[in-house]
């Protein structure tokens, strides 16, 4: 039986999988189902499940296809965390399991379960993707050949293009958990793929739409769940932040959701005080980025709703009126230094943005591990001799 996947016997180990089963035709509630499989430790949880399917119970339902983390079919929750079953090693899964070492596999969250580990992605994922107008609206006139596009711009957009639509980010999105209508990390990362594509003609329209939608880019609760969940390094939350940056910084959109006001208030307060002034932050986020913001009706409304708490806080010494009115500041010299930094950076014509996805990480000086045995003379020129140009 250890031969089932071609692994040499002896190297394989036993692993116990606890699968969440649900048979919609039975009328029964979901239940746990344990299977013990035998595979080498670096094999995937998917291979474990497939072994259980092949040997014991072919009725286990899981979407899967490529086994190589590119098709996006096998999104599941393993030990409570979202990811791809084919991309999770059995030994890692066992290490992150509860004390009994049993690997728990459940269907993805935020989506209705059809059967066992198979969920319905239509409403929560695909409809959201459709919502962001996910096709290129090409800049006119369309050239005869290719658009001339800066190399870095294309590499940048490749990060969101790398999304395989697996749903892992959507599964555990905490904003979506309380607000199911939130457009969500996958769809918004997809939106960046167009906003960041120099060939697209609708950057302003796309961003206005997504900024003004109360369930759009400003509904993201900045919790990093999607960044952690994504098996392809798409960094959905990072893409959402870029959408915000471009909407506010380039397109100058002032949305009705207080997103721009909040960002502007926060940033300005730190410039003016060096430290965050919470008492100013709230009213300015609603009423506009100035000292007079607190007199705006929208600000007044929210301040009123907090009146009870404010009184309590002041009475208990949590908040002093002096602090609320004047805030706390850095010493003058340091505040000046901070202001100078602001001025220098904000006056740049183009924002300087380092994307580690593109640049990678610096390496300490290290030569690659040499192949055992002497190198032959043919090793010098890496490129095939008669191809044109050089291989970079």
């Amino acid at each position: 039986m250890a031969e089932i996947n071609g692994s040499p016997p002896g190297a394989a180990e036993k692993f116990t999988l606890r699968l969440r089963r649900f048979d919609p035709e039975s009328g029964e509630a979901p239940y746990w189902d344990e299977h013990t499989v035998e595979l080498e430790p670096h094999r995937s949880v998917l291979e474990g499940i497939l072994q259980a399917k092949a040997l014991t119970d072919g009725s286990i339902g899981i979407r899967c296809s490529c086994r190589a983390a590119i098709c996006g079919s096998c999104g599941v929750r393993i030990n409570g965390e979202p990811g791809l079953a084919c991309h999770t090693h059995l030994d890692h899964a066992r290490a992150s399991a509860a004390a009994d070492g049993v690997i728990e596999v459940e269907p993805m969250g935020n989506m209705p379960v059809i059967k066992d580990l198979i969920v319905d992605m239509d409403a929560v994922h695909w409809k959201k993707v459709q919502r962001v107008t996910p096709w290129l609206i090409a800049k006119q006139p369309v050239p005869e050949r290719e658009y001339l596009v800066e190399k870095e711009a294309m590499v940048d957009v490749t990060q969101s293009m790398a999304c395989i639509q697996c749903g892992a980010c959507v599964s555990d999105c905490l904003a979506m958990e309380v607000d199911p209508g939130f457009i969500g990390p996958a769809a918004l990362a997809k939106a960046y793929r167009f906003v960041g594509d120099p060939r697209d003609d609708q950057q302003d329209i796309r961003l206005t739409d997504l900024a003004e939608d109360p369930q759009g880019i400003f509904d993201c609760t900045h919790c990093f769940k999607c960044v952690e969940a994504c098996p392809k390094g798409v960094n959905p939350m990072g893409q959402i932040m870029r959408l915000r940056r471009i909407a506010i910084g380039d397109q100058k959109i002032v949305d009705k959701n207080n997103g721009e006001r909040h960002e502007a208030a926060f940033t300005t307060l730190v410039k003016d005080f060096g430290l965050l002034n919470e008492a100013e932050l709230l009213p300015r986020s609603y009423g506009g980025n100035s000292w007079f913001g607190k007199f705006h009706p929208a600000a007044g409304k929210v301040l009123l709703s907090l009146l009870g708490v404010t009184v309590k806080a002041v009475m208990r010494g949590k908040m002093s009126p002096k602090l609320a009115i004047f805030g706390h500041k850095l010493p003058k010299q340091d505040l000046d230094a901070v202001k100078k930094i602001y001025e220098k950076i904000e006056s740049r014509e183009e924002r300087y943005e380092l994307n580690l996805y593109i640049t990678g990480y610096d390496e300490p000086d290290e030569t690659p591990v040499p192949v055992a045995a002497a190198a032959s003379s043919g090793e010098e020129s890496p490129a095939a001799p008669d191809t044109e140009g050089s291989a970079n």
């Binding site: 071609g6 009725s59 296809s65 098709c71 290719e146 658009y147 293009m161 390496e363 690659p368």
Partner: protein
């Protein structure tokens, strides 16, 4: 019952491209896929797509490389069409938004690929298939009002009317188990290859030869089924592909003595010779004792030669694959690979418009054999093939649809298929006389058999063994049992149907391999090691015995029957093939 001008089965590159092309003519179009379209195996294609877009390039050079790559079995009229239309197709992809990598001047960058006399492979890092597939799906989302999508519907049979024309399909909604008859004036098969008949394979679990087998069962001839490509660089354990793009960027192959052995086999192109040449070279090194790894069954692929920054930019996916599936950092150390089953050049025989010999039935992509790849496919030509012939099939079918009425079929086939499925579900695991086997067991034995006897090196004895085993497995599959008795998302029963398809494809492959008594392209017979143009410069066609496409229902369902068809030569006479 749904009725469309064009019904496309399979939503990979070929299928989606056909749908797009057909929709643009105003025809009513439906596309059906047993998985969500973006899960189609096209998504795994990595390296790039060939086109002579460089102003210094010429499509005729591309065409010649393709003809040579095919070991002169490719039909040159089809190859000319593919290569001459390639530049326009790549530009079309660019205009609908594919995020092709750029060079320093902002133009499409081109990388080197196997068998190419000039750099002509446009690419998106090493996720080109994914990038194109997702962009095509974006277009289908854009056209959601004109293209009906049937996602997670499994086709169980092609339909044929009394005059022998294909008039649609019977399909099962995987989610609910509901069966439905779909009428269509034209049906385009775009179901991909049959790699899962081999173990290991680079192919996804869904690549089970559905379209090839269904067309075959309907009476359409299959062509060049013996031509099965083994990709030179697949991971030993699970068959996962390491793209040729790595070698295109400068990676080299080394044996246990640390030598770049390709110098012996292809001194000119080295690692970028055609895939069959490279796979055979590797296999020879392994057989002669210069393999690497604990069992000396692999070869080193050394990507450390490529500047690290370039690797991270253009080969990011294989960096991830190396790390996740082999525990290797490819920027620091070599990774062990071996030849693995990857692609089938053979398939349903079509003309240059994707039309099969059955009226109303088209095929495009890996499921089809036009043939543009002949005995061996060049890397980055498959993405091209799917798009060019997917488009042509869509357009041709749309034109045909304008001239005919909507065919009608009875629900006889639906009732038959429903009964078949019920019968499979009801199979008794304790049935007599012999102990019935599990579907998964039979599939595994099939895969091992094909990988043993019908791989890089073949001979009569081995092939005959394989044929015997395949026939036995076909018998056993008739009583093979499954576990799932349910209706909702019953993957088990679909697996049983897929097993039947794989066995049919395997049988055709073995029969054709036995028939071709020469070595050409991917077929290497140790008992007939030379290419023999005099006797074998022709295609081998396989049709189901006794089935005459012009007389449906006539003749029994029998085994494969062999015939031949000529190779179309336009410009390039066969010559000795050296890399």
């Amino acid at each position: 019952m749904p009725s469309h001008d064009i019904l496309i089965i399979g939503a990979g590159l070929a299928g989606q491209r056909a749908a797009l092309a057909a929709a643009q003519t105003g025809s009513s179009v439906a596309i059906m896929s047993k998985v969500h379209p973006v899960r189609s195996h096209s998504v795994a294609a990595a390296g790039g797509i060939n086109a002579a877009i460089n102003v210094a390039d010429d499509w005729r050079s591309h065409a010649y490389d393709t003809v040579k790559g095919s070991d002169f079995l490719g039909d040159q009229d089809a190859i000319e069409i593919m290569c001459s239309q390639a530049p326009a197709e790549v530009m079309h992809l660019e205009h609908i938004g594919v995020t092709f990598h750029r060079n320093e001047s902002g133009e499409l960058d081109l990388r080197a690929f196997g068998g190419a006399s000039m750099k002509r492979t446009a690419y998106v890092a090493d996720i080109t298939g994914q990038a194109i597939l997702h962009v095509l799906y974006e277009q289908l989302m854009k056209h959601h009002e004109t293209v009906d999508r049937y996602e997670e519907w499994f086709t169980t049979s092609l339909l044929q009317d009394d005059d022998g024309r294909c008039c649609g399909v019977v399909a099962r909604d995987v989610r609910t188990g509901r069966m439905e008859t779909f009428h269509a004036k034209n049906t385009i098969l775009a179901c991909g290859g049959a790699g899962q008949a081999y173990r290991p394979t680079t192919n996804a679990l869904i690549v089970t030869g559905d379209g090839i087998a269904q067309a075959y069962r309907l009476g359409a001839p299959l062509m060049d089924m013996e031509m099965v490509q083994y990709h030179p660089t697949t991971l030993a354990e699970n068959g996962i592909l390491i793209t040729e793009g790595a070698r295109g960027e400068g990676a080299v192959l080394l044996n246990s003595e640390g030598e770049r052995f390709m110098e012996k086999y292809a001194p000119n192109k080295m690692e970028l010779a055609s895939r069959d040449v490279v796979s055979r070279a590797e296999q020879t090194e392994i057989l002669e004792g210069r393999g690497v790894g604990a069992e000396r069954s692999g070869i080193w692929l050394d990507i450390t030669k490529v500047p690290r920054k370039r690797t991270l930019e253009a080969l990011r996916e294989i960096v991830n694959i190396g790390k996740d599936f082999a525990g290797v950092d490819i920027t620091r150390e070599p990774i062990m690979i071996q030849p693995g089953q990857h692609y089938i050049m053979g398939g349903v025989k079509t003309d240059v418009n994707g039309a099969t010999s059955i009226e109303g039935l088209y095929a495009a992509g890996e499921v089809a054999c036009v043939s543009v790849h002949g005995g061996n496919r060049l890397g980055a030509n498959s993405l091209l093939d799917t798009l060019i012939f997917g488009r042509r099939a869509g357009e041709h079918a749309a034109a045909r649809a304008a001239t005919i009425g909507m065919p009608r079929a009875t629900d006889a086939q639906l009732r038959e298929d429903s009964a078949t499925i019920d019968a499979i579900i009801a199979r008794d695991r304790n049935g007599s006389p012999t102990r019935p086997r599990r579907v998964s067991e039979i599939k595994q034995e099939l895969g091992d058999t094909m990988n043993k006897y019908v791989a890089v090196y073949r001979d009569q004895g081995g092939l005959e063994q394989a044929l015997e085993i395949v026939k036995r497995l076909q018998e056993e599959s008739k009583s093979a049992y499954i576990d799932d008795r349910g209706t909702v998302f019953n993957q088990d029963v679909l697996g049983a149907l897929e097993l039947g398809y794989m066995l049919d494809c395997a049988q055709a492959t073995v029969v054709a391999a036995i028939e071709r008594k020469e070595s050409r392209g991917a077929q290497f017979r140790t008992d007939f090691p030379k290419r023999n143009d005099e006797q074998w410069l022709k295609h081998i066609d396989i049709s189901i015995n006794g089935k005459d496409p012009a007389r449906p229902g006539g003749g029994g369902v029998g085994g494969p029957q062999i015939s031949y068809s000529p190779v179309t030569i336009t410009q390039w006479q066969p010559e000795e093939r050296k890399y």
